[in-house]
Amino acid sequence: MRHGTRTAGSTKALTIASMLVTTLSMPSLTTGCGGDEPRSLGGIVRDEPLSVGSVAVTDVTDTGEYATHDGVFEMVASTGRLLVVYFGYTNCPDLCPTTLAYVRAAKRDLGDDGDLVDLAMVTVDPDRDTPEVLNGYLSSFTDRFHALQPADVEELESAENAFLASSSIVIGDDGAIEVGHSATAYVVDSSGEVLVEWPFGVDKDLMAEDLRILLDRTSKQS
């Protein structure tokens, strides 16, 4: 039996819908084979972009480029930069490290421009993901990270709601902890708008191409 379930409620449909659309978008990878076709984003772009700039989550970053902070992180990129936001947990052997490794590889593919991409991970398992664990984990992927550990369930859920993300923790009768989460990564700009969403399954080449396009747009704006 399941008990102790906590979910953000309203957005169970996101991942499946996302995956469908993403599967569709995969053919854009073929542009990487050498065509000079118009560049468009490979991830998901909403007709009405999510606005997440007002979301604030407790910031526990103590290593890397962003070790200095005021204790709360708001979901906006610095001017001229992009922010990749992920809701995950460190006891996640499959989805989380796959996506974060792709983000790392995509940043690497961008060369120097990769430094313009920051990562923020909100743990959906804040009891086990202590600041020490989160900082160590994220520093395996980049030194430009924000380690975010929600102070309570309300803080986590309000962040998830803004992104239409969700998660749940179920403690089984045997004490096993089962974490469920929508596994999408979000690219946010300096106005706090989600520019593109990468559901699980989007690979590093598509991420790199999307980041390249978005950084181009960002540099033209500023």
């Binding site: 979910t7 309203s10 957005t11 169970k12 449909a13 996101l14 991942t15 499946i16 819908a17 996302s18 469908l20 659309v21 599967t23 569709l24 995969m26 053919p27 854009s28 990878l29 073929t30 990487g32 084979c33 076709e37 118009p38 468009s40 984003l41 490979g42 772009v45 909403r46 007709d47 009405e48 460190t90 006891n91 996640c92 052997p93 499959d94 989805l95 490290p97 796959t98 974060l100 490794a101 792709y102 590889a105 664990v133 989160l134 160590g136 984990y137 520093s139 395996s140 239409l164 749940s168 089962e178 974490v179 469920g180 989460h181 929508s182 596994a183 969403e197 699980f200 399954g201 590093k204």
Partner: protein
């Protein structure tokens, strides 16, 4: 936003299914055009047993700091119907190995999410029109959870993939972080083929 999304659900669901099929074929075509997929599993010499189980492309992901869980992936092909029933690894690598699968959480939902993709490249014009002029809508669970499975069926002649987001071999209580380039053995136990030892290479990404 919810109200707008509530409309035309039936029509859009039908379309979703159609789009998935189109996408699947388009994806295949894309891979062929790129020509970069066929060799991906050949970097590691296949391990095979006399009964015809063949393992290829075995790799495990580098484990991030502070983490004692790992995951290994590979493809399994068998000439006859077989079943992967158990996995094991030397204690010098991890205390336990289990077969796991990522699945969509079985939770009910009465809400729908609507979205569209900007992607129009490489699609036929017909598909492009339906993509850009409409949105996909589905209702259902959206969280993925990991669960242990007892076994994986390996139907004769088919290649079963253990890959991120699907099946994986979970390594529990790693003795030490998995470092890039490291190699170790996993013993796979099959119902027919018996024990097959495969050498796994640690890497950041699939070979």
């Amino acid at each position: 936003m919810k109200e707008r999304m509530g409309k035309n659900t039936m029509k859009k669901r039908t379309m979703s299914a159609a789009m998935t099929m189109i996408a699947a074929s388009a994806m295949t075509a894309g891979l062929v055009a790129c020509g970069d997929d066929s060799a991906s599993n050949e970097s590691v010499p296949p391990a095979s047993s006399e009964v015809g189980v063949e393992i290829a492309g075995a790799w495990a992901r580098t484990s991030p700091m502070e983490v004692t869980l790992g995951a290994a992936y590979m493809t399994v092909t068998s000439a006859v119907d077989d079943e992967l029933t158990d996995v094991s690894v030397d204690p010098s690598i991890a205390a336990t190995a289990e077969i796991h699968e990522m699945v969509m959480a079985e939770m009910s939902s009465d809400t729908t999410v609507s979205m569209s993709s900007e992607t129009t490249v490489s699609m036929s014009s017909e598909t492009t029109v339906s993509m850009s002029s409409d949105t996909t809508e589905m209702s259902g669970p959206g969280e993925m959870v990991m669960q242990e499975v007892d076994s994986i069926a390996i139907p004769a002649g088919e290649t079963v993939e253990l890959k991120p987001g699907g099946y994986h071999i979970m390594l529990i209580d790693l003795a030490a972080p998995l470092e890039i380039g490291q190699e170790f053995d996993i013993v796979l136990t099959f119902a027919n083929a018996g024990d097959v030892t495969v050498t796994v290479v640690v890497a950041d990404e699939a070979p």
